[in-house]
């Protein structure tokens, strides 16, 4: 295809330039050139700029260490997943030495309100949670609180 085209049309586009154009262009251009631009000198780095990469690196390692710590702790506390939450929640509660503290109504009034509003009978709560409440709460009249 190229050969055919070149045979028929040649490869002279038919453009011309004025007589002596290139020589005068180079001469004029040489005279027109502005002063030579030197490469801008690199500015010395500030203390912060020098320390920054090391700080970022340290922060990254600290982050990784904390993530590993969290995963390690989570993996020791059995798996808590959506397939069997009640059993595991109960198991975690039992294994948590502070659970009694959470279950103490005086410890957290909001939790206490939530619990008494969702249970009519404290023995049902004990059963669901797999816990044993302090004797004082066993016969607590929940309805009395609800009316308030």
């Amino acid at each position: 295809m190229e050969e055919r085209l070149k045979k028929a049309f040649g490869n002279d586009p038919g453009f011309r330039v004025p007589e002596g154009y290139f020589d005068s262009f180079y001469k004029e251009m040489g005279e027109k050139l502005p002063p030579y631009k030197l490469a801008p000198e690199a500015k010395p780095l500030s203390k912060w700029q020098r320390v920054k990469p090391y700080l970022y690196l340290a922060a990254m390692f600290a982050g990784i260490w904390m993530m590993m710590k969290v995963f390690h702790t989570a993996s020791q506390n059995a798996t808590l997943n959506l397939d069997n939450p009640p059993e595991h929640i109960a198991m975690l509660m039992e294994s948590d030495p502070d659970f009694d503290l959470y279950a103490d109504p005086e410890y957290h009034l909001e939790d206490y309100d939530a619990i008494i509003q969702s249970y009519d009978d404290m023995s049902q709560l004990e059963k669901d949670m797999g816990i044993r409440l302090e004797p004082g709460y066993e016969n607590l009249d929940v309805e009395e609180f609800k009316e308030e």
């Binding site: 295809m1 190229e2 055919r4 085209l5 070149k6 028929a8 049309f9 040649g10 490869n11 002279d12 586009p13 038919g14 453009f15 011309r16 330039v17 004025p18 290139f22 262009f25 180079y26 251009m29 040489g30 027109k32 050139l33 502005p34 030579y36 631009k37 030197l38 490469a39």
Partner: protein, 187 residues
């Protein structure tokens, strides 16, 4: 393609980066590559006056950025890149001026060609230019570099930042379109 005298490119780069020898080095650079850069620009913009302005801009940019040239690429490639960018910017402005929204029809440049007193091509050359002007910008660049200048695909690849395979395909498509255009013209 115009004759390029052999130069010691490494020495020339050294001269260009030394403020004392830069001007003399730049004169050598212009005399070595100026003509071929000019023709490349001229085939894209058609008019001598526009090509002259763009060649000046191109060398001015090269001069002002000599300190950025690290010698990783060939001087000719670097100059071609500047020239191609300048030409594309110019053509975009011209398209805006002529209210042409696409880069695949620069036929308005045919009027520029007709008006240019430094074009003395015959009907055949005019027809070929009309066919080339109907190509998209990139294909036109590739076609001119290959058909008229017989530039190596590897060199074109460095200038245009496109793979050799894509350039070969582009040239093939361009050649097909140009041939078809000329066949239709004859009917």
């Amino acid at each position: 393609m115009s004759y390029v005298p052999p130069i010691d490119e490494k020495q020339l780069v050294k001269d260009l980066q030394n403020p004392r020898t830069a001007k003399a080095g730049f004169d050598t650079l212009m005399r070595t590559y100026g003509e071929q850069i000019y023709w490349q620009i001229r085939k894209m913009v058609m008019s001598h006056d526009d090509a002259n302005d763009l060649l000046q801009n191109c060398f001015l940019k090269a001069w002002n950025n000599l300190h950025n040239f690290r010698g990783d690429a060939k001087l000719s490639t670097w100059l071609y890149k500047i020239a191609v960018n300048e030409t594309i910017n110019f053509l975009n402005k011209e398209r805006n001026r002529n209210k042409v929204s696409t880069d695949s029809d620069d036929s308005f440049l045919l009027n520029t060609l007709e008006a240019d007193k430094y074009f003395n091509g015959d009907d055949i050359q005019r027809k070929l230019q009309a066919a080339i002007l109907a190509l998209p910008e990139k294909q036109r660049l590739v076609f001119n570099m290959r058909y008229y200048d017989e530039m190596k695909y590897e060199d074109m690849s460095e200038v245009l930042g496109t793979s050799v395979g894509a350039l070969k395909a582009s040239y093939h498509h361009a050649m097909k379109k140009v041939t078809q255009f000329l066949e239709n013209e004859e009917i």
